[in-house]
């Protein structure tokens, strides 16, 4: 209906508007996960016996998913590099690889949860499992949402449109990655 306002193109702070906004989005997400994880840590410290429950999580599956997510961040960085060089096609390809990493992550997660639920470890089994499914579930929702946005950005990047958005989704992806870096030791390694 209306053209982009002049305001959107201004950059008084010297930081491009899109990047600035993504950082603020990330700031708001940090406190959401921060609140959840601090609640978990406080509980965990108060209940030594949760370790018995945590012993039933699979460190190896978690480690594999960590590897998948970290690798997908690499392709996001390569996509950003390609976008900076003006190569939209290559940037799109890198984003598709990243999204494939996201898909792998979610599939592994689904298989892992199916296994755990079928062995009786459900979200209502104990407060540890409640935190386990809630925190990892919220993170998985971010992975899925990030992957969908990534595909939309890649569609445009393929036609060399909105190449700056490749960097923005990359920033967000690193954040999603970083959350997992906290979740993995807290939910899987600490036993």
């Amino acid at each position: 209906m209306s053209a982009t306002p002049i305001a959107t193109g201004r950059s008084t702070s010297g930081i491009p508007t899109g990047r600035l906004a993504v950082w603020w989005v990330i700031a708001s997400e940090i406190v959401i996960f921060g609140g959840l994880l601090i609640s978990y840590i406080m509980h965990r410290l108060a209940h030594g016996n949760w370790a018995e429950q945590a012993a039933h999580t699979s460190t190896w599956v978690g480690a594999f998913n960590t590897l998948v997510l970290l690798s997908s961040s690499l392709s996001a960085v390569l996509g950003h590099k390609a976008a900076d060089a003006g190569d939209g096609k290559k940037a799109a390809k890198m984003l598709y690889i990243t999204a494939f990493g996201a898909l792998t992550f979610v599939c592994v997660k689904a298989a892992e949860w199916t296994f755990e639920i079928s062995h009786g470890y459900t979200i209502t089994s104990s407060t540890f499992w409640s935190f386990y499914y809630t925190a990892a579930g919220l993170h998985a929702l971010h992975v899925i949402a990030g992957a969908i946005i990534m595909l939309i950005v890649a569609q445009a990047a393929k036609r060399n449109q909105h190449l700056n958005r490749v960097e923005l989704i990359g920033l967000y992806w690193h954040f999603v990655d970083l959350v997992w870096i906290f979740l993995f030791p807290l939910l899987y390694i600490a036993k």
Binding site: M1, S2, I6, R10, G35, L36, S130, T134
Partner: protein
Amino acid sequence: MAEAAVPALHDEQHHEQSFGQKYLWSTDHKMIAMQYLFTGMLMALVGGFMAYAFRMQLAFPGMDVPFYGIVSASEYNALVTNHGTIMIFWVAMPVLLAAFGNFLIPLMIGCDDMVFPKVNRLSYQIFLLSAVVILGSLFVEGGGFAGAWTAYPPLSAKAEYSQTPLGSSLWLVAVALEFVAFLLGGINFITTTMNSRAPGMKFYDIPMVVWMIVIASVLFLVSVGPLIAGAMMLFMDQNVGTAFYDPDRGGDPILWQHLFWFFGHPEVYVVMLPAVGITADVICVFARKKLFAYKTVLYTAFGTGVLSFTVWAHHQFIAGIDPRMAHIFTVTTLLISIPIAEMIFVYIATLYGGSIRLTTPMLWALAFIAEFLIGGVTGIFLGASGADIYLHDTYFVLAHFHYMFYPIAIIGTFAGIAHWFPKMFGRMMNETLGKIHFWLTVIPFNVIFIPLFILGLAGQHRRIYDYTNFPELAIQPLQDLRVLATVALLVMLGAQLIFLYNFFSSMFKGKKAGKNPWNATTLEWTTESPPPHGNWAELPTVYRGPYEYGNPDREDDYWPQNEPV
């Protein structure tokens, strides 16, 4: 707003708009501000009506309340819960933060719109949805949520306690949607102010009200996250069967109190700072004087923001927290009164030696300072853990709270509306009606809540449907105070009809305002009233600070920000 003047620049895209495009589907920041303002005003009527219903029950227990009927005990709980929720999240937030933020930020920093107009529109739409959900929750089976606006578990988590299985969940969904709306809006406010200021506008040239709205948005963004996580956990406790807050099954109900108040206390400052900012701008214009110690006010606001994250447990002094911890929170709570007191002194210093004009907006601004002072001073009693053990959960807390929020959400808002109405609608409000409305709002406000302080000191605890069952509280002198407060409420609510009449009749029939009816210096007064789409035909450049009044070298007593030397 209907006959907005249209500049040649945007003419071709503007005149073809249908009603829906212009009023419902607009991305223009001014229209979104109006949507927030009118939704907020509508919700204020709902919240006010709720207060009317439950105050009538308290003054005349068992009475058949006109326009409502008999208030049952469970309805009473739902009414107080939703009165609090609606007044904070659907009146104070949308009007002070979203309506004024949307309207003022682009106009005061000299750009044509928000940086993300579509995100802005989405923000309002989610907000509207949240308002529909909270209103709808009042009519579902079991009635609206009745577990108090703080939603402490287990009352909020277990349907067998609250008796409102659906109402509780819908309440939570509505609040969560509202948070999303304000996160989107807040990111827009912050980014716009950081990146889209007019050329020449440095940090210290930004009008104080814009600063305050931006700082409030940052505070909201940083504090709300843990509560979003907490709300998610509460929702799962309600609907999935988890036990995050259930001590029988390994959870902890105090966790919710921490998460809620970690947000809840900064939230006080989220709505307070915009009102403080509005007051700063209004008193400078009508005292014809530069804001005393601009930088001090700004740094004080930063300090308040940081400190506001360290005081939350003063809401939990009797919740079983460690008394040593209570001491620490007493100290931080008393500390935070210092910056607030400082702001009040700065405003008084601004007034000192000014040529004060007692227009309606100025009366509201002065009332804000005076009434807010009472709220602040009574807070000191509650912040000290020793005194709080007696006063906790009495009407003293309730009266203190309303002496904070009423000046913020009602008096501050009226100051803002009276001041910027000419810019919003291009016409002046009637001053005589405005002053009558002012006195009939501010005097009854004190007559409502001073008796409640006394009742609280007498030991009247909150959230009680009917005091006749408490022999020590059912005595006649105390009942007289309850009746007095209720009668004052009726007067105050009636006076709002004067405002509504003044507002809507002035919108269409008021005196034409012209560009700058108050001879003010900030940028919004340099464009047409109401501002056209795109705000200015040519965007302004800034040459000086926002409050250049009474410069001895100049003929006019004001020096607009955009005027070259």
